[in-house]
């Protein structure tokens, strides 16, 4: 992948999209951006130091080797606390790149710009697209014209208009300029924040591409951020998750990863392994010294403790791969309750409206459902039969399918409980309900065959807070209502609690498992004492290497440094 050219993409999230962000990064970012932007000098003075919204230009500053001015600049107004999210919901915050406010070190705004929400960028966004800029009050006789971004200082935000030449279009926008290296990618970056005018944005991108930029590959801005050393690997992965974050809960989980929760935890465990390794090595490399060597039982105990901590981390961690930034929606119910029909019906309806947007970062296409600006990953599992697998199932196929269903339910953000109106009893079994630990929406199917009037009352009587929607996959009755109910369940915040614990990608999990495996071999070896020291060391090094891979860096293996700081060496 080329890192030297200038790339452009619409980097706002898909969905409701009240606003859109168009980002340009690379050596010619300024020059190509000038082609489409006209500065509005009338309101410039008014806006220059106030026009940054919380959504501002969306990059983050952390892990910096140089001091970034905004890291330490106290915000002019109370800054959101750790893990707090922008008020406007996930779509506002999840522009490609990193959302602002994911970490307590990141203030929402540029220093000196103030934190006041921008009246320009938000409230005053004109209601319509105008063919003639002069026809609106805002731009009547503007003393505007060709703009020279290269004259602007860095961290400049100025209002103006996006006017792709020859398009006859003109739309108000705010341009943000961040010069290298103080930008997300550490290249020159220009962002345009505009109302999401679907018709306009491709024209703007087309013009910028015509000027010499290249449409960005999915994730390419973040790739550049990582390559330039701004993000470590775990953080870059977190950004990718944030981009696809479909709910506040997901966003919070990903921001946890981005904030370095996993890296910190892994770092703490790696430090303990390194300390144990130092004890082992001191027994090997300094055995001719008058040093008290740790007893084998203690080494073994400490190794086992780290292994247990790693296992706990793996268990408590939420698999990022299980939702990949999307709401994992599991359909549950008795066999033949109509889950698959409902599944297909939901997807059918969805496919008609899916339109991939350039620059968003869906790295893979899934059987996903888009509704209300959210993305759901639908997972249809085998039905849960209260009888379980009978003795007449020698291959245990039913039991295996059931085990998979149980696992899927455990990993669900949201469960769609499917009840067949035509096949009483309508109440779900206690066993099935016990497996559902996530928030729930109830769909009564086959409404064309039978009424299902008692279901809502039944759930209410059981104290289950679940919306019940009556549907028919055949007639299409209730499908739209069901989509709305799913969105409400997520946006109502019910899904939030799922985001507890650090977040793991499949890669992280594999690395954790490799580390834990090495420690599992090391602990009994350590008990053997002297004769196996070099083997214990080999296993401990392997676990350190595996953990180092999580943050994309080799773990600190300065074992000698640890030894010299702890032991009196030297005959």
């Amino acid at each position: 992948m080329n890192l030297d050219d200038t790339i452009v993409a619409i980097s706002s999230p898909a969905g409701r999209g009240e606003r859109a962000v168009l980002r340009v990064s690379g050596p010619h970012a300024l020059a190509v951006a000038e082609r489409v932007f006209r500065e509005d000098r009338l309101i410039r003075q008014h806006c220059e130091f106030q026009s940054t919204s919380p959504e501002g230009a969306s990059f983050l500053a952390q892990g910096e080797d140089e001091v970034e001015p905004w890291v330490s600049a106290p915000p002019a107004e109370p800054s959101p606390g750790r893990g707090a999210l922008p008020n406007d919901g996930p779509t506002e915050a999840s522009a490609q790149g990193a959302p602002m406010g994911l970490d307590s070190h990141i203030s929402y705004a540029y220093p000196g710009f103030g934190l006041r929400p921008s009246p320009w960028a938000k409230k005053d966004a004109p209601a319509g697209l105008t063919a003639n800029p002069a026809s609106t009050g805002l731009t009547a006789n503007p003393p505007s014209g060709a703009v020279v971004l290269s004259d602007w200082p860095t961290f400049t935000a100025r209002p103006g208009r996006l006017e792709p030449p020859g398009s006859g279009l003109s739309v108000p926008a705010v341009a943000y300029l961040m010069r290298e290296p103080r930008s997300y990618t550490r290249q020159d970056v220009v962002e345009f924040h505009v109302g999401a005018w679907p018709a306009l944005l491709p024209l703007v991108v087309g013009e910028i591409v015509a000027a010499g930029a290249r449409p960005a590959e999915p994730g390419e801005f973040t790739f550049r951020a990582m390559m330039s050393g701004r993000l470590d690997l775990a953080q870059a992965e977190a950004v990718m998750a944030v981009i696809g974050a479909a709910s506040r809960a997901t966003l919070r989980a990903a921001s946890d990863l981005l904030g370095g929760h996993l890296s910190r935890e892994v770092g703490r465990l790696a430090a303990e392994i390194r300390d144990v390794l130092a004890l082992v090595e001191v027994g090997l490399d300094f055995s001719d010294q008058d040093i008290e060597i740790a007893p084998p039982a203690e080494l073994s105990r400490r190794i086992a403790a780290v292994r247990a901590a790693l296992a706990h981390l793996g268990r408590s961690a939420r698999g990022l791969e299980t939702f990949d930034g999307q709401v994992r929606l599991v359909l549950a119910g008795r066999p033949n309750a109509g889950k698959s029909s409902l599944f297909n019906r939901l997807l059918q309806a969805d496919r008609a409206i899916v339109s991939p947007v350039a620059g968003t970062t869906r790295d893979e296409l899934r059987a996903s459902l888009r509704a209300g600006g959210l993305t759901f990953t639908l997972c249809d599992v085998a039905g849960i039969d209260e009888n379980g697998a009978g003795p007449g199932d020698p291959l245990d196929i039913g039991a295996k399918a059931r085990a998979r269903a149980v696992e899927a339910l455990a990993g669900a953000d949201l469960v769609l409980l499917v009840i067949d109106a035509s096949a009483p009893p309508l109440e779900p079994s206690d066993e099935l309900l016990a497996l559902v630990t996530s928030p729930m929406v109830v769909a009564v199917t086959k409404s064309d065959l039978a009424p299902a009037d008692g279901v809502p009352a039944w759930f209410a009587s059981r104290g289950v807070d679940a919306e019940v929607v009556v549907t028919s996959a055949v007639t299409g009755e209730g499908i739209e209502a069901l989509r709305a109910a799913l969105v409400r369940a997520v946006e109502g915040g019910a899904v939030d609690r799922q985001a507890a614990g650090p977040v793991l990608t499949a890669r992280h999990r594999a690395a954790l498992e490799r580390a834990a495996g090495a420690l599992a071999r090391a602990a009994p070896l350590a008990e053997r004492g002297d004769e196996a020291g070099e083997l214990v060391a080999m296993e401990l090094r392997e676990s350190l290497e595996a953990l180092g891979a999580i943050v994309g860096d080799r773990a600190d293996t300065d074992v000698l440094g640890a030894i010299f700081s702890q032991f009196c060496i030297g005959k």
Binding site: D65, M226, M227, L560
Partner: protein, 608 residues
């Protein structure tokens, strides 16, 4: 008649210089041209191969290197075996990878034996003089200039100056120039090296007092006897007289510590008189007492320096305290109350060339044909020095012959780890080898050094037919025995499987299996078979690690790469890469402060 012409001039007659001179002479001396083609310039010919510090060779990780030197065709192991006073295999109770042979040597006998070897080497001339400058023609070495005015024209120079480059000795508040006690320093060569563009740094080391063994009271000390079954260094060197000299252990006392604390205002390490960095693993007594104040005792090992001398080396008492304090310290130690001090401990500061300035061939990046080896590269230890000297001698000779250099891998030898660490990471303190520095420790054992490196030494031309035949015979024995172990079964399981059980030994197996009992096999070959059977699983994993790493080692970086043209490299990464100029992505990854994203940027650049 001040003009002589050589192929290779070695500057310095320490352990690096000796190996360099011998290897060079053995490799280039085979030509038909008459007269010496290799010269060794040294300040005093009678102190060649002097053990300036303790009278011992080998030790943890170092013993492995000495055996590697032997396998490659170097000299140190043979001379040690000929002059040893005692052998001990360290870490005997531990796994085979960390077992290390160590020998106490007769200090004078060792130097004498090495000097005889040098004098007997055809094609090698020993010149007593002080090198003061390196002359170049273009970017190549042209001559070594000496203080006498002599000019030694040469095609290559190997500089092995040890502690002699602008050396300054410290005892208490006294300081004076010198290369080591009783010998002058090389005062002018530093400036010559600097003129060639080399940056110099400064390091410190130290040595303890020596006492008269006849004045020690061994009744109050613990004896440290030699191993009854010595493991020698040289593969196949005939056994010398049974080395049966003991060392003795005593320890310091709280009163001695108090005495030292009371005199820190006269300790050059604490008054600011010494500024440069000393070895962390070999601190002075005063450093130990300051840094680990809660320790009430420190061990002192009393090591005899020879059979015919009363001199005893006080290992553990390295110090540069004033003489009167040294007197009281020594006399405060149990068993040493009446000890006669023959020589006081001292510290020495000297110039070194931070080793990122040399290539893995040990040739400097700045000047073609100029090689550096030993303490000038920031190392400490006789073994580290000898290993570098050997490699520098080999590579200087090969370069003249137009043959490719020998660069040992980290998976191949401790000497490979040593050189790679030096040229990749540099060092800010005297560098010493540890087994923990070798990521492939399980395969870098002392017992298989011959199997790892004799083929290399043979290819180079330093391994004689006899040693080569010995290795071939050993390999044959190993292969045949392994085949037997895989063929013969007891209760359905192969002998190899049985041997893998922790509780099964060769002997216990042989007691039950007549085939095995009847087998005639050398102990060395048998040891290889047993280790490889018992550690098979780990060795396979280590081999897999090596294979994985080799992919990175095989991704070569063009030596002339312009790092300024690699856009997107962080400034720090760019500077480090440009300074080290790694040969491969693997080496680049080992540079401190180079992260995965730097490597990715580099990789993307190279792919274009």
């Amino acid at each position: 008649m001040n003009e002589d012409a050589f192929d290779i001039v070695v500057v310095g007659g320490g352990h690096a210089g000796c190996e360099a001179a011998l290897a060079a002479a053995r490799l280039v001396g085979s030509s038909t041209r008459l007269g010496a083609r290799v010269a060794l310039v040294t300040i005093r010919a009678d102190t060649i191969a002097q053990m300036s510090c303790n009278p011992a060779i080998g030790g943890l990780a170092k013993g492995q290197m000495v055996r590697e030197i032997d396998a490659l065709g170097g000299q140190m192991a043979r001379t040690t075996d000929a002059t040893a006073l005692q052998y001990r295999l360290l870490n005997r109770s531990k796994g085979p990878a960390v077992r290390s042979p160590r020998a106490q040597c007769d200090r004078h006998a060792y130097a004498r034996a090495m000097q005889e070897t040098l004098r007997g080497q055809t094609g090698l001339e020993i010149i007593e003089d002080v090198a003061c400058d390196i002359e170049t023609a273009g970017d190549r070495v042209a001559a070594v200039r000496c203080e006498s005015g002599r000019r030694l024209a040469t095609r290559a120079a190997i500089v092995t100056t040890g502690t002699f480059l602008r050396g300054v000795l410290h005892v208490g508040t006294k300081m004076w120039p010198g290369g080591r006690i009783g010998e002058p320093a090389a005062e002018n060569l530093s400036a010559g090296l600097a003129r060639l563009g080399l940056v110099l740094g400064r390091l410190k080391t130290g040595t303890p007092p020596r006492v008269d063994g006849r004045t020690l009271d061994y009744a109050h000390m613990q004896e440290q006897p030699p191993d009854p079954d010595p493991v020698r260094f040289s593969f196949g060197w005939p056994d010398g007289p049974f080395p049966n000299v003991s060392c003795w252990i005593t320890e310091t006392t709280p009163e001695v510590h108090e005495l030292i604390r009371a005199n820190l205002d006269r300790a050059p390490l604490y008054t600011g008189q010494i500024r440069s960095t000393g070895p962390r693993y070999c601190p002075s007594l005063e450093t130990k007492i300051v840094r680990f104040a809660d320790r009430r005792r420190h061990q002192v090992f009393l090591e005899p320096e020879g059979r015919d001398t009363p001199v005893v080396y006080c290992n553990g008492l390295s110090t540069s305290l004033p003489e009167d304090v040294q007197d009281r310290v020594v006399h405060g130690i149990p068993g040493m109350e009446r000890a006669a001090i023959l020589r006081y401990g001292y510290a020495i500061e000297y110039d070194f060339v931070p080793p990122t300035q040399i290539q893995p061939t040990l040739e400097t990046k700045a000047v073609r044909g100029l090689y550096l080896a030993g303490q000038i590269n920031g190392t400490s230890g006789y073994e580290e020095a000898a290993g570098q000297g050997l490699l520098a001698g080999i590579n200087a000779a090969r370069a003249l012959q137009g043959r490719p250099p020998i660069v040992l891998g980290r998976d191949q030898a401790y000497l490979g780890v040593l050189v790679d660490d030096l040229v990749t990471k540099g060092t800010e303190e005297p560098y010493r080898m540890f087994t923990s520095l070798a990521e492939y420790r399980l395969v870098l054992r002392h017992d298989n050094a011959d199997r790892r490196l004799t083929p290399v030494g043979r290819e180079v031309g330093l391994v004689a037919d006899e040693a080569w035949r010995r290795l071939e015979a050993k390999e044959r024995e190993i292969a045949e025995t392994r085949a037997l172990l895989r063929r013969v079964r007891v209760e359905g399981r192969t002998l190899e499987d049985l041997l893998r059980r922790p509780d099964v030994t060769w002997e216990s197996l042989a007691a039950d299996v007549p085939d095995l009992a009847a087998l005639v096999i050398s102990p060395e070959a048998r040891e290889q078979v047993v280790i490889e059977a018992k550690y098979a699983g780990y060795l396979v994993r280590q081999s897999a690690q090596i294979e994985r790493a080799r992919k990175m080692e095989d991704r070569l970086i063009p030596p002339e790469l312009d790092y300024a043209a690699v856009t997107h490299l962080r400034t720090e990464a760019r500077e480090k890469l440009a300074r080290v100029r790694p040969r491969s992505m693997g080496q680049a990854a080992r540079i401190a402060g180079i992260g995965p994203s730097d490597l990715a940027v580099l990789m993307i650049h190279l792919k274009r």
